[in-house]
């Protein structure tokens, strides 16, 4: 185990912790921007540090294609290759294959897919995924899991969950660098509480450095989503980090943190930036919108990032979706927003002001009091009274 996880503060299920990784001491809850190909689109390392980014996620599938694990290994690992001094996490590559390639087929051996380079059939086994991730050298590596769409039901879900458990042992056996890289297991089991429970127990028995909740954020309804998170966080060990994969909407992060999750990743903040949308406390600001053309305010007057301190919505309106600088500046702001959200979550839990933070957040996002029902339900389980944020029922 190459990490330390110290809970610094709690509010019911929510926790703020110090996560010490080989390359960086992080504060949770935290959001990890996705740097698919060894870079966060349009931002330099110094900018990422400036906005408080702690862990960057790299995609094993993409990195294995280009520049290739051998090259990364030979040049001293991904940290050195991209000169990122803080923490890195790599996924297993399985999800990318299943979601990007139509021709992926999963067998007991591994994930078979058609090479995007020469079309030849290729096989990614749990052993290989770990071997590649060992070469890339991230602080946290992910086990290869059998990924199924959340919306699928029936025996396939069960098969995938049991296979994920069988594969974790192969991953553990293949992991050559447990002293410097932390292998996280992934809880599968779809929306079925019994399967999820079996998977959590199976993984916890293996005493891994951390656990991820997988198979979510794939189009399932929000009520199912938070219930799976709540169930898993309730039965995962207190002293290990919990990572909800693929979650990145600010509201989802607040809810999951209230339910006791610690880590998140998503392409959303940078992708939406390229389409001209800015994250603001109220939700989304579409800078392409004609109303922005003569708006002399910053994106978010409460944001102190480099972009908000210097640029008006009017100027950004003429940059976004047209010029490289538009997506650079908007990505910078959006990631600043996510980092500020992470920090606010951490601080409010440590200072014992978490309910107040959640209430303030919801009031800003839902000024009319129309907080979605799933959020209300989740907050009840999280033990946070948000009645003051919800409009009284009109009868």
């Amino acid at each position: 185990m190459a990490l330390r996880f110290e809970v610094l503060g709690k509010f019911n299920r929510a926790r703020a912790a110090r996560l010490t990784l080989p390359h960086f001491i992080c504060q949770t809850p935290l959001f990890m921007p996705v740097g698919t190909q060894g870079t966060i689109k349009g931002l330099t390392n110094s900018q990422l540090q400036e906005i408080g980014c702690q862990i960057i996620l790299g995609n094993t599938y993409h990195l294995a294609l280009r520049p290739g694990p051998e090259l990364i290994d030979e040049l001293g690992g991904l940290h050195k290759f991209m000169n990122w001094k803080r923490a890195l996490l790599t996924d297993s590559g399985g999800f990318q294959m299943v979601s990007l390639l139509h021709l992926a087929d999963i067998t007991e051996e591994g994930v078979t897919f058609q090479s995007p380079v020469d079309g030849k059939p290729m096989l990614l086994t749990p052993e290989e995924s770990i071997q590649i991730q060992n070469k890339i050298g991230a602080d946290i590596i992910m086990a290869l899991d059998d990924v199924v769409k959340t919306t699928i039901t029936g025996p396939r879900i069960e098969e995938a969950m049991y296979r994920t458990l069988r594969w974790i042992d192969r991953c553990i056996a293949a992991h050559k660098r447990p002293d410097v890289q932390n292998l996280f297991g992934i809880v599968q089991g779809g929306l079925d509480p019994i399967l999820r429970d079996i998977c959590v127990k199976g993984l916890v028995d293996r005493n891994l450095p951390g656990y991820a909740i997988g198979g979510l954020a794939g189009g399932e309804d929000k009520d199912s989503f938070w219930r799976v998170v709540a169930q898993c966080t309730a039965s995962l060990p207190e002293d290990k980090p919990r990572y909800v994969m693929g979650v990145g909407y600010p509201l989802d992060i607040v809810v999951c943190s209230a339910l006791g999750a610690d880590m998140y990743d998503c392409v959303y903040p940078t992708r939406t930036a390229r389409f001209g949308s800015a994250l603001v406390p109220e939700g989304i600001l579409k800078l392409k919108n004609q109303a922005m053309a003569d708006d002399e305010r910053p994106i978010d007057p409460t944001c102190s990032c480099m972009v908000c301190r210097n640029y008006t919505r009017a100027y950004l309106h003429c940059l976004v979706t047209k010029d490289a600088m538009g997506s650079q500046l908007l990505s910078y702001h959006n990631l600043s927003y996510m980092m500020r959200l992470s920090k606010d979550l951490h601080t409010s839990i440590v200072e014992g002001l978490f309910p107040e933070f959640v209430q303030g957040f919801l009031r800003t996002q839902f000024p009319k009091g129309d907080v979605p029902e799933w959020v209300c339900n989740a907050m009840e389980v999280a033990g946070i009274d948000i009645s003051s944020c919800c409009a009284p029922l009109t009868s």
Binding site: T44, S46, L71, F81, N83, A293, M306, N310, C318, M325
Partner: protein
């Protein structure tokens, strides 16, 4: 704005100068110097935090095209925001506004008429009249601005070239008449194509007006490189010594040296932008007069020995910086191998890192040019630079 010639080369036209542009307390910008190209007022890829890490005050001069704001924001909004400096968050930088922009809006001489100049812009062909141009300038509040011109390429007929000169002079007078401070912050646009007499005539006429300096246009538009020096000399010889001269359209290092030799002080160059988009990094040593590096690297098999193409596979495993002793952000932090990877996977960071390095490098080149002028060795500098390129071009080393 105040300009002083600080050193004139004996027996030549090249000169070093100091441009006082940012109030009395600001350090002067030494010339010959480079105007950084911008898209909508900002460098294509360098954001303000990295811009501030470039050598200063060398990097403070930015060229801006009012045409980039034809669609938005409106002149009223720009005025409300407080002009370019406020809108771009670059309060300490200096903007020189001119319509010439080789990045995306090109002068389109065919569509020009007596009312105004036409330009091909991303939103189609647009006619700009002196009055609407002045209105844009008023809202943008650049430090200096250039009169409107009917810029034509070198291949137009003598008749068309003459019309271009007449219109450009007339629009200069219109711009002056519209300017409440009577040309105090204005550079007069000089055209004349490839015709020595028209060039002299235009330069002499513009010099008679009350302008603060000169923007020498009509270059880089298909003229013969052999005739260019004579044209440039004809222009600068017709201009008063004590005023600022800027040339637009001379990009390559050799062209810059040609311009410096003709007595030009500022250069509006899109060279860095095009290099960066192509995946190139400048690598040539700039201290070629005093240093031990008089010989440019001849062993480099890629690029033309002033630059390397980072897309080439030989950089796949190259863990050295672009230039070993370069102090720019890119060279201090990243390897050729990483930039090669970023280019391979089409990541924007490649262009950010290359534009930072190339800008830094080109500014160093200009500093070396200034030092050569100050120490009376400009001719030697130019000769060595051009020679080493020629040696390289005739050597057996394969170059791409």
């Amino acid at each position: 704005m105040r300009f002083v010639v600080t050193k004139a080369c004996a027996g030549g036209r090249a000169r070093a100068g100091a441009l006082y542009i940012g109030g009395s307390s600001a350090a002067p910008i030494e010339t010959p110097s480079l105007l950084l190209s911008t898209c909508k007022g900002l460098p294509a890829f360098i954001s303000r935090d990295h811009l501030s890490e470039l050598p200063s005050p060398d990097s403070l001069l930015l060229s801006v095209s009012p045409l980039h704001f034809l669609d938005c924001p409106s002149t009223k909004t720009i005025s409300n925001i407080g002009g370019l400096h406020q809108m771009l968050g670059l309060q300490d930088h200096f903007f020189i506004a001119a319509t010439r922009d080789s990045l995306e809006s090109l002068p389109e001489s065919v569509g020009c008429n007596k009312h105004g100049a036409t330009f091909e812009t991303p939103s189609g062909r647009r006619l700009v009249k002196p009055s609407s141009y002045k209105e844009m300038i008023t809202s943008l509040m650049p430090n200096l601005w250039v009169s409107l011109a009917d810029e034509v390429p070198a291949w137009v007929s003598q008749k068309r070239n003459k019309i271009s000169v007449d219109r450009t002079l007339r629009w200069l007078d219109e711009c002056l008449a519209l300017d409440p401070v009577g040309g105090k912050d204005m550079l007069g646009f000089i055209v004349g194509g490839s015709d020595i007499e028209e060039r002299k005539h235009c330069a002499t006429e513009v010099a008679r007006r009350n302008v603060s300096g000169f923007w020498i246009g009509g270059f880089g538009l298909g003229e013969n490189i052999e005739e260019r020096s004579a044209l440039l000399n004809a222009v600068t010889d017709s201009l008063p010594e004590e005023k600022l001269r800027l040339v637009s359209g001379l990009s390559l290092p050799e062209e810059v040296l040609q311009g410096v030799a003709a007595g030009v002080d500022l250069f509006d160059s899109t060279y860095i932008y095009h290099l960066t988009l192509g995946g190139f990094a400048l690598i040539y040593p700039v201290n070629i007069v005093d240093g031990e590096t008089a010989e440019l690297q001849l062993d480099d098999s890629l690029g033309d020995c002033t630059k390397i193409n980072l897309r080439a596979t030989i950089y796949r495993m190259d863990t050295s910086p672009l230039v070993a002793d370069c102090t720019c952000f890119t060279c201090q932090n990243h390897t050729r191998a990483y930039i090669n990877h970023l280019l391979n996977v089409h990541e924007m960071l490649a262009h950010i890192l290359l534009e930072i390095h190339n800008t830094h490098h080109y500014l160093s080149f200009f500093r070396a040019v200034r030092e050569a002028i100050k120490s009376g060795k400009f001719d030697l500098f130019r000769q060595r630079f051009v020679e080493s390129r020629r040696i390289h071009l005739t050597s057996t080393v394969p170059c791409s």
